[in-house]
């Protein structure tokens, strides 16, 4: 914290101390949107918002991080009227990747705008009266804190301890700021066996030499640092363990170091899952992160747009490939006993035949991995509006979303779920389609065998792409677009290579993309981006489904019998459940129940009815009952939707 910030915080603290609920001491302070905020500053801003807008905002703790920081959620709604948990909700969550701090700033900005705009903006008032916003601005507070350390390394991971190279030593070989410039960057080293060459179009960049064209490499690339454990790899096991956007359950990248020991292994992830699962009224999810499906929506067949990989980062990551395979031996023991044939002789097919069984469960259905075509249309409509409102046409680097939260949100939680970096680079700099088209997002995310501990916790977006993808590209086409954009926009995003005498490698050059420059715009952009994202957020919330009892009639048939007819309508834009919500049985069907004793229903629909989904924009579902009753009696009809609120109507038998 700067001295100035500290003084300001201390002043406010004297006023706000009475409102501080539990936890560690954290003063109140209005958010400063001209720079990125530390955990303490962000926490103070959240407390300040919750205090200033005590009626509309509630601050709750979702999880405690590995280092004891709180993952906060700010819950925003006008609590008068229908209970908040029964309203359609929009969840905004950000900063799963530790280095994507812009998301945190935007989420906070949007929350701030919603609260301060309630009094002046009829649109915002309507949203807060009828909906609820859950805002988790910083999912990974431990990871984000690395941005504010003395030495900055664009770390994505949380603070879990993880033996990345599985050598029995924990976090023993992290990076060092050798040239004391305050950041961890890269080293390029002349190496006759190195596969990389200086890019002919931009000598700052490197690309893979193409032997077929007679090119020779001559360079190796590493992250800045030394081989602390003398194992032959530089920086293969840094502090910081799990990338939270690799730790969720959809297309989880099993047994890769950044993904953690298993799905949902991290307290932050578990806390967020429990929080979300306790709020089934969440009808849409907007995340800020290093994947994108808003600027480039899924195709009409539901395939994800491809990722944009930064080759320079991928190359540095490849330098530690193989750290997890040192010590694999053929089991050529000199003798084995008690057996006629080799015992434990490697991974051959064994005896081939599994023990005989009765047939069992062949042909299990695999989970969905593409957006349902019916849903893709909604994604595309919303994407159009996103580009229009924000003006973002080209994203910075993006990555393949296996294990990401927003993917869980759609594929398993069953709601429209979005991810955007929240900022853009100059149009024309977008490299996703043509530059790295080989990296189709649906392929090659596995790295199932061995895994790549590559640059874990280091590097910018795109850096954690599985090795196989990067190996396929290597042309640095997207890197080139990035440097051209930086030059044109005067972004200080590349540290020019400077000579350095490395203790073991000898003459090297240190430089490369500046940490955080690939995942965050200059802080001066926060306010403008925040405004347009507030507009998008209120737009998105306006689309949420909404059930209503549109039309009812009661007709006496004589003899104490009445014919009741009711039409249930979805007046929102989105359906009461996405197709994936139905397919995954994630969204409860909407219940339509007539409040009579089941025995009083003589004919027609049962007392309790369900429909799996109802499209929006006024589509209706009709029910009819014939009930026995006394004249003048009243009957309550209710429609209860999980994501679309509920409605009741009182009918009089006459």
């Amino acid at each position: 914290m700067t001295t100035q910030a500290f003084l300001r915080a201390a002043c406010v603290a004297a006023v706000g101390a009475a409102f501080i609920a539990g936890g560690s001491y954290s003063p109140l302070a209005a958010a400063d949107y001209t720079r990125y905020q530390t955990y303490d500053e962000m926490t103070a801003a959240l407390r300040d918002l919750a205090k200033t807008h005590a009626k509309l905002a509630k601050l709750v703790e979702v999880a405690k991080s590995r280092e004891g920081r709180s993952v906060w959620a700010l819950e925003i709604a006008n609590p008068d009227g229908r209970p908040v948990r029964e309203r359609p909700a929009l969840l905004i969550a950000a900063n799963f990747e530790g280095d994507q701090v812009i998301g945190s700033a935007l989420a906070l900005y949007v929350a701030d705008q919603l609260l301060t705009g309630y009094a002046s903006s009829p649109t915002i008032k309507e949203r807060l009266d009828g909906h609820v916003f859950y805002v988790i601005p910083r999912a990974n507070p431990d990871g984000a804190e690395a941005m504010f350390g003395a030495v900055k390394s664009a770390r994505k991971t949380n603070a879990a301890k993880f033996d990345s190279d599985n050598d029995g030593r924990l976090d023993e070989d992290g990076p060092e700021d050798l040239n004391k410039d305050g950041v961890i960057s890269m080293m390029r080293v002349k190496d006759p066996k190195g596969p990389y060459m200086i890019h002919p179009d931009d000598p700052r960049l490197m690309r893979r030499a193409d032997a077929a064209k007679g090119e020779a490499g001559g360079y190796s690339i590493f992250w800045e640092g030394t081989d602390n454990d003398s194992d032959g790899f530089i920086n293969e096991d840094p502090a910081g363990g799990v990338d939270l956007n690799r730790n969720f359950q959809h297309q989880y990248p099993y047994y890769t170091p950044d993904a953690g020991p298993h799905m949902a292994s991290e307290p932050e992830v578990r806390g967020i899952l429990d929080y979300v699962l306790a709020r089934r009224n969440i009808a849409a999810i907007l995340t800020f992160g290093e994947s994108d499906n808003l600027v480039s929506p899924p195709t009409r067949t539901g395939a994800h747009a491809p990722a944009s990989v930064v080759d320079l980062i991928a190359f540095a990551n490849q330098s530690v490939e193989g750290a997890r395979t040192v010590g694999r031996f053929q089991q050529s023991q000199q003798f084995s006993f008690g057996r006629g044939r080799g015992f434990g002789g490697g991974d051959d097919a064994g005896r081939g035949a599994a023990p005989a069984g009765r047939g069992g469960g062949r042909g299990a259905t695999p989970p969905a991995t593409t957006v349902a075509p019916a849903d893709a249309e909604y994604f595309r409509t919303i994407s159009d509006k996103y580009r229009q409102l924000t003006g973002i046409r080209a994203t910075p680097a993006t990555r393949i979303p296996g294990g990401a939260f927003f993917e869980y949100g759609y594929y398993q939680f069953g709601v429209p779920s979005f991810s955007t970096p929240g900022w853009g680079i100059a149009q024309g700099a977008q490299g996703a389609q043509d530059a790295t088209g080989a990296q189709a997002a649906t392929g090659g995310r596995g790295a199932q065998g061995g895994g790549v501990p590559g640059g874990r916790g280091l590097g910018g977006p795109g850096g954690a792409a599985p090795g196989g993808d990067a190996a396929e590209s290597g042309t640095a086409a997207f890197d080139l677009r990035l440097t051209r954009w930086m030059d044109a926009a005067k972004v200080d995003g590349f540290i020019n290579w400077q000579p350095y005498k490395h203790p073991t490698l000898g003459d090297v050059e240190i430089g490369g993309f500046r940490p955080y420059a690939l995942s965050n715009p200059d802080a001066s952009k926060i306010a403008d981006l925040g405004k347009s994202h507030t507009e998008f957020t209120t737009y998105l919330a306006s689309l949420l489904p909404k059930v209503a009892i549109a039309d009812t009639s009661v007709k006496s048939l004589g003899g104490g019998l009445y014919r009741i007819k009711a039409e249930v309508e979805n007046s929102g834009f989105l359906p009461t459940s996405m197709a994936q919500g139905v397919r995954a049985r994630a969204v409860a069907p909407t219940m339509v129940q007539l409040g009579v004793d089941p025995a009083a229903i003589v004919s027609g629909s049962p007392k309790t009815n369900f429909f799996p989904s109802l499209a929006g924009t006024g589509r209706r579902q009709t029910y009819e009952w014939i009930v026995k009753g006394t004249p003048g009696a009243t009957v309550t009809l209710k429609a209860v939707a999980q994501k679309a609120g509920s409605a009741t109507a009182t009918l009089t038998l006459k």
């Binding site: 002789g345 047939g359 369900f610």
Partner: protein
């Protein structure tokens, strides 16, 4: 403290005093010369427990406490955590502290009862502890096993389900008790089964619908309701299990307690509910699964796992789903060896792969312990229906459709003649609030899934024996022959054999591929020793190449692939210098083996 063995010996000797004169007559040897262990009489058990009844959770805990009190040195009772309803997940640790620290020895983890109604595994767990303790110091193999290994025994990982099954009416008790809203009405667990007639049993409901039904009474035994052949009509339909519309929504029994599967909440090939019913929302969401996993992850010395289920008579291994792919060949051979041995120890049990032999399971427990934790894992399905009439002659009779024990009526015959009608409740008329005039009756909860009580002890013993066999075949690293030879220039060739006599490798091939077990380490210590190189000796009895190990630090070699089962490997070091040299093979799942050699440069004497 008095020595319990000597008390037992004295009692056994007292018994011999009575018996010997009768049987041996005048030729009797002197009484004092008969070693008590050969008396033929049983030892006097220190703790008497029942194995012909089913223990609820409190009773299990009480018996575990008795055992701990009787053998405080070897047993430690603790809890892995709490179930949803607040019951302890009881853990007994068997460890002899005199032979090493708990986490330094290879351990076998034995659990049971993840499905609440699969209770007999809890009895096997109790029996195992009791048997190990009573026979420690009496049977050499048992003594050795307890001294070499550690056992973690959890009799029920679903105590809520166990008590719900045993103390309640027995309905809906596979699941645990985390509430789930099955009928999507916003309220959880509000409409389960009900014991409408108050007889303590959830029965089946059938309705008499002459000429309109799908079922009929069996001609041989009218208690049996059977489907009618195609083209005919029956007189009965079944309306589900005993219960009413508790929440007045027009439906009966549509939202019982829980209703998920605690054995689908694990992190290998976990799949969401629509792919794998009962999986819950994420792995280890269930408090019981989380507590067990936290424990397993804190004990990397666990090399073997057994999770007892019922029923069907199976010795199951993973994978649970075909798309996971078969285990690596090296692992399959190990599993096959153990599984086929199990088939010999457990009559009527078959060694099977889950997906091909049973059904597809995503996110099952032993998939996780094998794939994610590198523990060799079996799951036994306890009790097989063939054990009711367990002789070749009787099974021949069962195939005769006219026999009184032919398959369709065999259960009824067994109940009538062996259980004296204890298990079947005859159909009786009942006026149901929603269904009108119906009949209720059928089997009690204990029939079928668990053995008749009088057959339980054999089930306990045989399954225990298989798990003890598995425990005995966990890896156990030992050092073997060593040699030191001068090769000139002040350099010595040091060779050390390391041996794993057991079937199981220190690291399963699957675990090595997934990098989920810390690699074995080959460590060298010795003040005056400089290690120039290290390498594997292909065959120490033949001259030939040594496979040099290309790692930067020859004093700390990583062995990611571990040490195979039933094998010896020779490591060769070229060293310079002299003095004592210690070579340690350090494995997490097979323990440590230490070899000490003395390198003596010429002229230093000794």
């Amino acid at each position: 403290m008095r020595n319990p063995c000597s008390i037992a010996a004295r009692l056994a000797f007292a018994a011999a005093l009575v018996i010997v004169p009768v049987s041996m007559g005048a030729q009797q040897p002197s009484r004092a010369a008969i070693p008590p262990t050969q008396s033929g009489s049983d030892p006097q058990f220190k703790v008497r427990l029942d194995f012909n009844r089913w223990h609820d959770v409190a009773e299990l805990k009480a018996d575990f406490e008795k055992l701990e009190k009787a053998w405080p040195k070897l047993l430690k009772l603790s809890s892995l955590g709490k179930s949803h309803d607040g019951r302890d997940l009881i853990l007994m640790t068997v460890n002899n502290p005199e032979t090493g620290a708990e986490t330094a020895k290879p351990a076998m983890y034995i659990e049971a009862n993840v499905h609440g109604n699969e209770i007999q595994g809890g009895e096997v767990a109790l029996y195992t502890l009791w048997y190990l303790m009573e026979n420690y110091g009496r049977i050499d193999q048992i003594t050795k096993l307890v001294n070499e290994r550690v056992f973690y025994v959890v009799p029920t990982v679903n105590p809520d389900g166990r008590d719900y099954f045993l103390k309640g009416t027995g309905a809906g008790s596979r699941t645990g008790h985390v509430p789930v809203d099955d009928d999507n009405d916003g309220v959880a667990d509000e409409d389960g089964d009900d014991d409408l007639n108050g007889n303590g049993v959830i029965e089946q409901i059938r309705k008499y619908v002459p000429g309109e039904g799908t079922l009929r009474k069996n001609a041989q035994d009218p208690r049996i309701l059977e489907p009618v052949p195609p083209g005919q009509t029956g007189d009965y339909i079944l309306l589900g299990s005993e219960g009413a519309d508790n929440d007045n929504d027009g439906r009966v029994n549509e939202d019982p307690v829980g209703a998920y599967d605690g054995n689908r909440n694990w992190a290998s090939n976990w799949q969401p509910n629509y792919i794998q019913g009962g999986a819950m929302d994420y792995p280890f969401q269930l408090p019981e699964a989380k507590a067990v996993n936290d424990f397993l992850m804190s004990r990397p010395n666990i090399a073997g796992v057994q999770s007892y289920h019922n029923n069907g008579g199976m010795i199951l291994r993973g994978p649970g789903a075909e798309w996971q792919g078969e285990y690596p060949g090296a692992d399959v051979m190990v599993y096959d060896e153990l599984g086929r041995q199990g088939e010999r120890m457990l009559p009527y049990y078959r060694y099977l792969v889950i997906w091909s032999g049973l059904y597809t399971v995503h996110g099952g427990f032993i998939d996780w312990t094998n794939d994610g934790l590198g523990m060799l894992s079996f799951s036994n399905e306890l009790w097989n229906g063939n054990q009711y009439f367990n002789s070749p002659e009787l099974q021949q009779q069962q195939r005769d459709p006219n026999s009184p024990i032919t398959n369709r009526v065999a259960q009824y015959y067994f109940d009538d003649h062996l259980e004296f009608g204890d298990q079947f409740i005859d159909w009786k008329a009942f006026d149901h609030p929603q269904f009108g005039k119906v009949e209720m009756g059928g089997w009690k909860k204990l029939q079928g899934r668990v053995p008749p009580r009088f057959m339980n002890e054999e089930l306990c013993h045989r399954n225990m024996a298989f798990s003890l066999y598995q425990a005995d075949e966990m890896p156990l690293m030992k050092s073997g022959a060593t040699s030191v030879e001068a090769v000139g220039g002040g350099v010595y060739r040091v060779r050390v054999d390391f041996v794993n006599e057991k079937v199981t490798p220190t690291i399963l091939a699957k675990a090595a591929a997934n990098n989920v077990v810390r690699p074995d380490l080959l460590l060298v210590e010795g003040k005056g020793i400089e290690v120039l190189s290290a390498g594997w000796v292909a065959n120490k009895f033949r001259p030939g190449a040594t496979e040099l190990i290309d790692q930067p630090d020859p004093k700390r070699i990583l062995i990611r692939t571990g040490h195979a089962g039933r094998s010896t490997r020779t490591i060769e070091y070229l060293v310079r210098g002299g003095g004592d040299m210690t070579v340690t093979y350090d494995s997490l799942k097979g323990g440590k083996a230490v070899a000490k050699v003395s390198v003596k440069p010429a002229g230093t004497g000794g």
